[in-house]
C-alpha cells in the first residue's frame, strides 16, 4: 500500500529555495538527497523542480539577473538595457558567465511595470534603469557589494485616491483597530456582513467573498486553511505589491477576519518569488502581531480562537495564480490546476476546506468593518460597491497605482492617467479585454467594464501585432502543459501570428485563428487556456483594418513555405563539404 503523505510535502518548496539560494542551482545530488528526505522518486522531484522557472538545474550564477520580458518593459527600452547588461557581464541572455559570476535571464512580468525598465538581481529590485546605471550596478557587484545594499526599494507611485471620505485603501490605518469588531460579532455575523457588502474576488474572477466564506464554514472539518493569493502574475499588475508595501497590516487583519469567520486555524500568504524582497518586512510584522496576541493561541473575539500564518514563497509560474494550481504548488507538487471536481472550500489544501482570496479582497475586509457596511455600500456602483485598485502602465503620463471609485467613466480615467493618444488599452492584462476608441465611453464597474487590476496603455505608434505576439509568447511560456488545447493550441496560434507578422497570412488564416481560439477556449482545463486568446480575438474585432492590411486573398499555395529558405541549410552543408583552402 502507498505509504505516501506521511511526510509533510508543503515544506518542499522552501527546502528547494534554500538549496537554490545557497548553491545557485539544484543539481543531481541535491535532487537525490531531497527526494529521499521527502520519500519521493527522483523523477517526481525533478518534475516539481523543472516546473518553476526560478529553480535552476544548472548554476545560474552568483548574481542572477532577471530582466522583465513584459511588453511594457520592451516599449520602455528594455532592449537597450539588455545590451548594456550583456556587455557589462559578458554573457548573452539565457546564459551564465564562465566564471559563474553572472547569469542573465528573462522573466515574465516582475510586477514593476510602473518603474520600467526594471530587473531583479538575486530577487532584489532595480528600477528605472538607464545604461549608465547598469554599468555602475555591475561594477559595484564585481567589487563585492551585495545586491540588497544597492537595490532600489520600489517607490509606491500612488497617483490618485478618491476624495478623503471616499478612499478605502490608501489612508492611514491604526493597527488592530478593526479587529475589535471580532469581539462584537459571531463568525456567522461576520460572514453575513461580508455578504452584505457585496465584496467579490478582486483577483479578477469576482466570486462573492461572503459566499465563499459561508461555503467553507459549512464544511465541517478539524482543520481549515486561509490562503492569501499574492501571486499576481498577470502582466501589468502590481497593485498587490503596493498594498503589501503600504498596508500589509490590512492583509494580515483581513486574514484574521477570514479565519475567525470560517473557523480556520492556519493561514499562509502565497507570495510570488518576484516579491521576495518583501519577505523580511512581512515576517517582522507577523511577529509583531504574534507578540500583541493577534496571532497564535486564544485570539480575542466573541468566541476566542487560534490562528497563525506563515509565508509560502512561489518559484515562478504564472499558472499558480489559479487557486487549485496554487494549492498544488503549496503541497509541494507541480503547479497544475485541478479538475474542478471539488472546490477548494470543499477539498483544498491537504484535502481540507480552504479559502483562497486575493490580497486586495482581504485588505478590503478590515476597511469595510472600519467604515461600516452602510458607508461602503454608498461608494461605487450597485453591483460593485467600494473602490478598485488599478495598476497603470504604458504610454501615459502617470504610471502607477490608482484607487478609483467603481463606476468611473473611461474618458475621465484616461484623462486622470494622462494617456497620450491612446489607441489600445489592455484591460485586466493579456487574458482580459482589448479596448479601442469605441470603449472609451464605458464605465469601469461590475455592470459594464470589470477589471482585475492591470491597465496597459498603448498609443498609436505601437505595433499591435507585435503586442499580440508578446502576449502569445507569454501564454506559450506559462501554459502548465497538462491539457493539449492550451499546451499546443497556444503554440499553434503563436505560429499563426508569425504568419501575420511576416505577411504570409491569407484570409483563411484569420478564420483559422477565430475557430482555433474557440476550440481552445471551450476545451481548456483552466482559466489560462480559456482566456489566453481573448485579446487576439478582441483585437480582430476592434482593429480589423490592421489585420486586413497583413492579409492576402486565399490561394492554393502556402506562402509560409519558402523553398529558398528550405534549401539554405543544404546549400551551406554542401558548400562546406566541397570547399577547401587551396
Amino acid at each position: 500500500m502507498p505509504t505516501k503523505n506521511k511526510i509533510d510535502r508543503s515544506k518542499l518548496m522552501s527546502v528547494l529555495w534554500e538549496i537554490q539560494r545557497k548553491k545557485r542551482c539544484i543539481d543531481h545530488d541535491d535532487i537525490s538527497k531531497v527526494a529521499q528526505e521527502f520519500d519521493m522518486s527522483r523523477m517526481e522531484l525533478e518534475g516539481v523542480v523543472t516546473f518553476y522557472h526560478f529553480f535552476h538545474r544548472t548554476d545560474c550564477g552568483k548574481f542572477t539577473v532577471y530582466l522583465n520580458d513584459c511588453i511594457v518593459s520592451q516599449f520602455s527600452g528594455r532592449e537597450k538595457i539588455q545590451k548594456v547588461f550583456e556587455k557589462a557581464t559578458g554573457v548573452k541572455v539565457g546564459h551564465v558567465s564562465e566564471d559563474k559570476m553572472f547569469g542573465l535571464f528573462k522573466s515574465p512580468c516582475i510586477g514593476l511595470s510602473d518603474q520600467e525598465p526594471a530587473c531583479l538581481i538575486n530577487f532584489q529590485p532595480f528600477t528605472n534603469l538607464t545604461p549608465e546605471r547598469v554599468t555602475i550596478i555591475i561594477g559595484q557587484l564585481k567589487e563585492g557589494k551585495k545586491p540588497s545594499e544597492i537595490c532600489d526599494i520600489p517607490k509606491s507611485t500612488i497617483h490618485y485616491t478618491p476624495p478623503k471620505n471616499k478612499t478605502v485603501f490608501f489612508k492611514p490605518y491604526t493597527f488592530f483597530s478593526s479587529l475589535t469588531h471580532l469581539e462584537n460579532h459571531l463568525p456567522e455575523e461576520i460572514i453575513n456582513l461580508v455578504k452584505e457588502s457585496k465584496l467579490a474576488g478582486r483577483g479578477g474572477a469576482f466570486f462573492p467573498t461572503g459566499l465563499k466564506w459561508q461555503f467553507c464554514r459549512q464544511n465541517k472539518s478539524d482543520t481549515k486553511y486561509i490562503i492569501c493569493n499574492a501571486d499576481e502574475g498577470e502582466p501589468g499588475t502590481f497593485k498587490d505589491r503596493v498594498l503589501l508595501e503600504e498596508h500589509p497590516e490590512l492583509l494580515i487583519e483581513g486574514m484574521i477576519f477570514a479565519a475567525y469567520a470560517v473557523g480556520a486555524n492556519c493561514g499562509s500568504i502565497y507570495l510570488r518569488a518576484e516579491y521576495r524582497y518583501l519577505v523580511g518586512k512581512l515576517e517582522a510584522l507577523l511577529d509583531h502581531y504574534r507578540k500583541k496576541g493577534y496571532l497564535g493561541k486564544g485570539i480575542k473575539a466573541k468566541v476566542p480562537f487560534d490562528f497563525d500564518m506563515y509565508i509560502h514563497l512561489g518559484a515562478g509560474a504564472y499558472i499558480c495564480g489559479e487557486e487549485t494550481a496554487l494549492i498544488h504548488s503549496m503541497e509541494g507538487k507541480r503547479g497544475e490546476p485541478g479538475t474542478k471536481e471539488y472546490f477548494p472550500v470543499e477539498k483544498g489544501f491537504k484535502g481540507k476546506p480552504t479559502i483562497v482570496n486575493n490580497v486586495e479582497t482581504l485588505c478590503a475586509v478590515p476597511r469595510i468593518f472600519e467604515m461600516g457596511v452602510d458607508k461602503w455600500l454608498q461608494l461605487g456602483t450597485e453591483k460593485t460597491p467600494g473602490t478598485k485598485l488599478l495598476s497603470v502602465s504604458g504610454d501615459c503620463e502617470n504610471k502607477g497605482l490608482f484607487e478609483i471609485e467603481w463606476g468611473m467613466n473611461m474618458q475621465v480615467f484616461l484623462k486622470l492617467i494622462g494617456a497620450k493618444h491612446p489607441k489600445m488599452i489592455q484591460f485586466s492584462g493579456p487574458s482580459g479585454d482589448c479596448l479601442s476608441e469605441v470603449d472609451f465611453n464605458r464605465n469601469i464597474s461590475g455592470e459594464d467594464l470589470s477589471c482585475g487590476g492591470s491597465v496597459m496603455v498603448f498609443n498609436d505608434k505601437r505595433d499591435l501585432m507585435y503586442i499580440l505576439k508578446s502576449y502569445s509568447n507569454f501564454f506559450v511560456e506559462e501554459s502548465c502543459g497538462i491539457c493539449v488545447p492550451c499546451r499546443t493550441g497556444n503554440f499553434l496560434l503563436n505560429k499563426k501570428i508569425d504568419k501575420l507578422l511576416l505577411g504570409h497570412a491569407e484570409k483563411k488564416d484569420l478564420d483559422d485563428i477565430i475557430e482555433w481560439s474557440k476550440i481552445i477556449k471551450i476545451t481548456s482545463r483552466c482559466g489560462l487556456g480559456q482566456m489566453s486568446s481573448n485579446s487576439l480575438n478582441d483585437a480582430i474585432q476592434k482593429f480589423p483594418e490592421i489585420f486586413e492590411r497583413s492579409l492576402s486573398e486565399n490561394t492554393d499555395f502556402n506562402k509560409a513555405f519558402n523553398l529558398d529558405h528550405a534549401i539554405e541549410e543544404y546549400d551551406k552543408i554542401i558548400n562546406e563539404m566541397t570547399s577547401d583552402y587551396e
Partner: protein, 421 residues
C-alpha cells in the same frame, strides 16, 4: 445505493444513480462520450479534454461530472463533435505519430478514436518537435514521440513503497513524461506490463513483450466491422463524351501507394473506361500535356524537386488528392525531421555501415535535387483537396474515392477500410 435522479442527456430524460460518473451513465443509456485519459471512476484525470460536454450551458469534461438531479447535458452537438475531433487532430499534430511504424498500431485507443471520427488529416500544421526515445530503463522503453500526456501512468503506476515511476517534467509545450530508472527497476513483470497496457497509445513499451499481432487480429481491427456505413443516393454527374483525366506522382514516398493503385487487378479495365492517365509513372508520361481533372500525390516533400512537382500538380490539376501517410503527414521520411540535416547526410554517405570505406563524398551537383531542411507534408506546401490515409491505402479505398470525386457522388468508406497503417 444512492437515490435515483432524473437528468436530460441530449434531450432524452433518463434515470440514474445520484453521484455516478456521467461518462458511465451516458454509456448505459446508449450515448457514447469518447474518452482517452479516463480509465477508472475514482480520481478522473481530466487531462485529455475529449469528453468535453455542455453541462447546464457550460462546457466541462464529462469524466469529472457526477450526475445530479435536473442536470441538462449536451453530448453530440455539431460543435462538441467538432471540438472532439479538433483535440484528436491537435494531439496528432503535436506528437510524432507514425502509425505505420508503431507497435501499438491497431491496438491504439487514440488511433481508434481517430478512425471513428473519420480523421484523414489534421487541420493544424505538424509541430515535429524533437522528442527522445528512452531505452535506458531496464525493462521499458519510453517513446515521448507518441506520448499524449494523459497522465494515466503517472497516477496509476507506483512501486510497492508508493513511489512514482512515471512523472511529468518541464512545463508547457516542453512537458514530457520521464521514467525514474531506479523505481522502474523495482516493478514486477506484471506491473510493467500493466503500465504498457494502460498507455492509450504506444508510448510505453516493455522490452521483449511487444506482441506483433497480424493485421485483422488486433484490438480495433474487428471493431467497426459491424458498423454499416450510411449509403447516400448517388448523384451521377452528367455524362461527357470525353474521359476524365488523371495524373499521379510519387514524391518522397516508397512507391508503395502506387503499387497499391495497381492492386485493383482487373477492375482497372472498368476504370480506364472513364479515365485517361496523363503524367504518371504508370504511363511514363513525364510532362503534363493538358489540364487534368484530378491529381494523386504519393509522398511528402523532401527535396526541391518534390516541391516543384507538387506545385506544378497544383497548377495543372483541378483537384489534388494526397494519398498515403507520407503525403498527409510526412510519414517515414519525416522521421529525419528530428535529426540535423548534416548528421543525416554524414550518416548516409560517410559513417553508415554500408558506406564504402574511403568514400568520403556527399553527392552534390547542380543536377541533383537539393534536400530541404525538413520533410513537409503536402498540405504545408500547397492546398490539398482530399486525403486518403493508409500505408498504403487499400486499392479499393483509393479508387472508390477517386471515382466518387470524379462522378460527383457522395461516398462512404467502411470502418475496416479506413487505416493509418
Amino acid at each position: 445505493m444512492n437515490k435515483m435522479v432524473n437528468l436530460r442527456l441530449d434531450g432524452k430524460t433518463i434515470k440514474a444513480e445520484s453521484g455516478k460518473n456521467l461518462v458511465d451513465v451516458a454509456k448505459e443509456n446508449g450515448i457514447y462520450i469518447p474518452t482517452l485519459c479516463y480509465f477508472r471512476e475514482l480520481n478522473p484525470l481530466g487531462t485529455c479534454r475529449i469528453c468535453t460536454v455542455k453541462l447546464n450551458g457550460k462546457h466541462t469534461t464529462g469524466c469529472t461530472v457526477k450526475v445530479a438531479d435536473g442536470m441538462e447535458v449536451e453530448v453530440n452537438t455539431p460543435e462538441l463533435l467538432d471540438n472532439r475531433k479538433a483535440i484528436i487532430e491537435m494531439l496528432y499534430a503535436e506528437g510524432n505519430h507514425f502509425c505505420p511504424t508503431c507497435e501499438k498500431s491497431g491496438n491504439c485507443d487514440m488511433q481508434n478514436l481517430a478512425y471513428d471520427m473519420g480523421l484523414t488529416v489534421t487541420r493544424y500544421p505538424h509541430v515535429f518537435s524533437d522528442k527522445i526515445v528512452d531505452f535506458n530503463p531496464k525493462r521499458m522503453i519510453m517513446d515521448s514521440n507518441r506520448c499524449i500526456l494523459c497522465k494515466r501512468c503517472v497516477e496509476e503506476i507506483k512501486t510497492k513503497a508508493g513511489k512514482d515511476v512515471f512523472s511529468f517534467v518541464h512545463r508547457g509545450i516542453k512537458t514530457r513524461v520521464h521514467i525514474d530508472y531506479e523505481q522502474e527497476d523495482k516493478l514486477s513483470e506484471s506491473e510493467a506490463l500493466h503500465a504498457m497496457n494502460i498507455c492509450p497509445v504506444g508510448a510505453i513499451l516493455v522490452k521483449g513483450m511487444i506482441h506483433e499481432q497480424p493485421f485483422g487480429d488486433r484490438k480495433y481491427d474487428l471493431l467497426g466491422k459491424n458498423i454499416i456505413p450510411k449509403l447516400h443516393n448517388n448523384q451521377v454527374r452528367k455524362n461527357e463524351n470525353e474521359k476524365f483525366i488523371v495524373a499521379t506522382t510519387s514524391l518522397a514516398g516508397c512507391f508503395g501507394c502506387h503499387m497499391s493503385l495497381l492492386d485493383i487487378d482487373t477492375d482497372i479495365l472498368d476504370i480506364i473506361e472513364i479515365v485517361e492517365f496523363n503524367k504518371s509513372p504508370l504511363t511514363d508520361i513525364k510532362n503534363f500535356t493538358k489540364q487534368c481533372h484530378i491529381g494523386l500525390i504519393e509522398g511528402g516533400c523532401a527535396n526541391s524537386e518534390n516541391v516543384h512537382v507538387l506545385q506544378e500538380f497544383r497548377k495543372k490539376c483541378d483537384i489534388l488528392v494526397a494519398f498515403g501517410e507520407c503525403a498527409i503527414m510526412g510519414g517515414i521520411p519525416a522521421m529525419r525531421n528530428f535529426v540535423p540535416l548534416q548528421e543525416c547526410l554524414e550518416e548516409a554517405y560517410l559513417n553508415g555501415v554500408t558506406t564504402e570505406i574511403g568514400a568520403n563524398v556527399v553527392p552534390g551537383h547542380e543536377d541533383i535535387p537539393k534536400l530541404l531542411n525538413n520533410v513537409y507534408p503536402c498540405n504545408e506546401v500547397v492546398k490539398i483537396d482530399y486525403y486518403i490515409p493508409g500505408c498504403p491505402p487499400n486499392a479499393h479505398h483509393i479508387w472508390k474515392v477517386v471515382k466518387s470525386i470524379l462522378l460527383g457522388e457522395e461516398f462512404s468508406i467502411t470502418h475496416d477500410e479506413f487505416k493509418y497503417d
